[in-house]
Amino acid sequence: MKALLRKEFSLCLHPTAVLFLLFSALVLVPNYPYEVIFFFSGLSVFFIALTARENGDLAFTCSLPIEKKEVPLARISAAAMLQCALLLLTALCIAIKQTAFPEELLVNLAGNSANLAFCGFGAMLLGAFNLTFFPLHFSRPTTVGVPFLVSSAVQFVLIGILVAVRHAPFYAPIASPDPAHSGVKLAVLFVGLALYGAMTAIAMRLSMKRFERVDL
């Protein structure tokens, strides 16, 4: 698996995968729909899958001394590493914003506020992407566009719900600047991370099972 992951990063990584990590800094922009940061993460995975397809990567990798089912496992693990890096960078930028920005700029009028809870929402959006994109892609690896369209649609529906629910009265503590209502926000963060872990694990299992049946 170590060699597979190294190969993922040395031969399959698309430049946007690193570039889009910098989009975590978008949380510093006042009144911006910060959820799109996680859409761009999905876009970079789409580029990785597209480049891998054009490079004949899957057939090449399957000829190496590994089990066929390890191929999706490595691809999803590499994506998960990038996603975790994105979440960490986003959390770091949020911490900077919470300490350096005046309080009136900490409440986001265009979507969810950048706080602890937002990282939980981000994790959930990334998990939803993994759960939809990878099993679809690895059931027919020549198809990259359709899985991306489906996963993006799911992400945007979820983003829509998150933005809409922001105006609900019960939501006020979640939208507040840190460290207020930390308990609720931490709960949202942990639920988001748990959902991310669960959805990614299911995506791995489904992708491995489906990829074994694929003819390369």
Binding site: K7, L64, P65
Partner: protein
């Protein structure tokens, strides 16, 4: 003392169903240290057979490599194999050194110095990108990768397609040198002249079925080409795949009459014979 497995490759009831094509069930074995040629016309199932062996496609049947069952220890079995699927068409914008570095990590017995030596012998420039290589050089690069991890069995899918005659000769020289080192080779081709020079055994595929699986010498001795003045005469001589030629009719016969048949002619007449039978 433990006896070494005399077969490099054993395939049992290898079968793959497509909506419009069925491969097998095929059963065959390749002796260790020999070169076997997988021949057949386009679409006969040569690539499907090799992909089934490598489990690149989901197929039925069992495959053993040097006695090790593929399905029981896929990773370990693949370590013994060097698979070249029709030239090197992967990562066109990557340098050879970058690809070799990534590949080396998968093999505990990777011989870095050996890889450099082979690349020098093949005149491969490691800083070059894959897209800058000619078809012949791409095949040489694939072979360099396979040989540097100590592959004992080479599975080559149409390695000589797209090569000029001189490069094909070079390739055949390489195979013969590998055979001397004890490497077993199974390679598919429709260029039968290459096989005449290097192959010990022929596996002849037609429409997904094995039409012949025997030593090249036996196959060549079995058939002769005979000339006939009419189609009726050819039919009474039980000639196979009778076709019109400028001086009458030509067909494949068993026995000692007629002239020696080339592998190409055997293949063509057997294919025609199958068509006639239908």
């Amino acid at each position: 003392m433990k006896e070494m497995n005399s077969y490099a490759l054993e395939a049992q009831a290898l079968k793959k169903d497509y909506p419009h094509f069925m491969l097998g069930p095929l059963s065959f074995s390749i002796e260790a240290g020999t070169i076997a040629g997988l021949i057949g016309r386009n679409g006969a199932g040569k690539s499907t057979t090799l992909k089934s062996i490598m489990r690149l496609i989901s197929s039925e049947g069992t495959v053993k490599v040097f006695g090790k069952d593929f399905s029981e220890d896929e990773g370990a079995v693949k370590e013994l194999i060097g698979y070249v699927g029709g030239g090197f068409r992967f990562y066109p914008n990557r340098s050879l050194s970058a690809i070799a570095k990534a590949v080396a990590g998968f093999y505990p017995h990777w011989d870095g110095e050996g890889f450099k030596r082979i690349c020098e012998a093949y005149e491969l420039v490691l800083s070059k990108k894959v897209r800058e290589l000619s078809e012949g050089m791409k095949i040489k690069f694939s072979l360099a990768l396979a040989l540097s991890h100590g592959a004992k069995l080479l599975l080559l899918d149409e390695p000589t397609s797209g090569l000029d005659p001189l490069s094909r000769e070079d390739f055949c020289d390489t195979l013969l040198a590998l055979k001397e080192q004890g490497v077993t080779v199974l390679f598919s081709t429709h260029i039968t002249s290459d096989l005449m020079r290097v192959a010990d055994r022929i596996l002849y595929l037609s429409e997904g079925a094995l039409l012949a699986d025997e030593p090249l010498e036996t196959l060549m001795k079995r058939y002769r080409i005979a000339m006939f003045s009419s189609a009726e005469e050819a039919a009474s001589a039980q000639a196979v795949g009778v076709k019109r030629v400028k001086d009458g009719f030509e067909g494949l016969i068993a026995g000692r009459e007629g002239r020696e048949a080339t592998l190409d002619e055997i293949m063509i007449h057997l294919e025609w014979g199958k068509g006639e039978a239908k």
